[in-house]
Symmetry: C2
Subunit: 205 residues, 2 copies
Amino acid sequence: MLNKKTIITISREHGSGGRKIGERIAAELGISFYDKKLINIVAEQSGLSMEFIENHEQKINNSFLFNIAVSGYYSGNIFNKESLLPEDKIFLTQTKIIRDLAEKESCVIVGRCADYILKDREDCFNVFIFSDLESRKKRAVTEYGFNGDTVESELKKADKARNNHYSHYTGQDWGQLKNYHLAVNSDFVGFDNVVDMIVQIAKNR
Amino acid sequence: MLNKKTIITISREHGSGGRKIGERIAAELGISFYDKKLINIVAEQSGLSMEFIENHEQKINNSFLFNIAVSGYYSGNIFNKESLLPEDKIFLTQTKIIRDLAEKESCVIVGRCADYILKDREDCFNVFIFSDLESRKKRAVTEYGFNGDTVESELKKADKARNNHYSHYTGQDWGQLKNYHLAVNSDFVGFDNVVDMIVQIAKNR
């Protein structure tokens, strides 16, 4: 059990196992886990279809909006702003949901720039999980059904998309050491060790 | 005890407690610790005085030399090369010593670009330890006797010198996440936790 409220944000490279590690940490600590689940909440709150969200979520355009979202300028229903682009609507909604969750309860949040969105809170523990390219390729093929012939370029495309999305909405590069409290190579350290050490750090806070 | 030979390299920000953490890890694992001690060995082997080494060690000039050192071009006594600058002589000697130590025994090596010098070995565990500026300032004043009025600029100067030294001899920026297996904010995570988790990871390899 946790001694005090803790929001563990997990940023991860595709194929590093970060999502699974996050799920295990949440289960061990008995706290909520948010990832796809978060998208469901967004879908429900916004009335947008899952397909619409998945299609638009990591597209990029007007970075101006994020600053507005972060500064708390938007206090009402952002969907009154008809001029917003779909991906920005989604991002602003997610920002609000992530803030509400962090206010309410201890939890694990994977991706969604949560480390940046919650950067002014004292109760966040920000983790970055990465891995060697060879291990990521293997995992992507065996666990996520990627095609072995194209897996390397697919992973590089995924990294680039994640970096673009992060830097668009935060103005920072993704995967900068100083944005995290802990960064770990999941293959070198081993999944069990990664889970154990994050659980231990969270408990000892 | 370790199951297999492991060289733990620790790179750290000044004032992050990385050296002390390294000492504790070496003690817990019952393996050797190299830092100042390394300089002593260099001094003995090279016949240079400690004062000479400390004065020149982190000065920078001809990066050409490092590539020669890394490629193993130098197999003889580098001090036959009268044209070498003092800091390059020191660095080349350290490179050789670090390689010999890594070949010989499990150990903890703090600083000295050891992560890069040993990058082709499979038995290295590379760690980066950093901390918040405020904690580093406090520690520098209370533990290392820095002047409170100038501590911030002194630490920034130390970071810059460390980065220059590292990038001069390795051609890479210092503190890039992908150069390490684990990077950790020592204040957030706590010194005891940092020691425990590194010991645990090393034991589980």
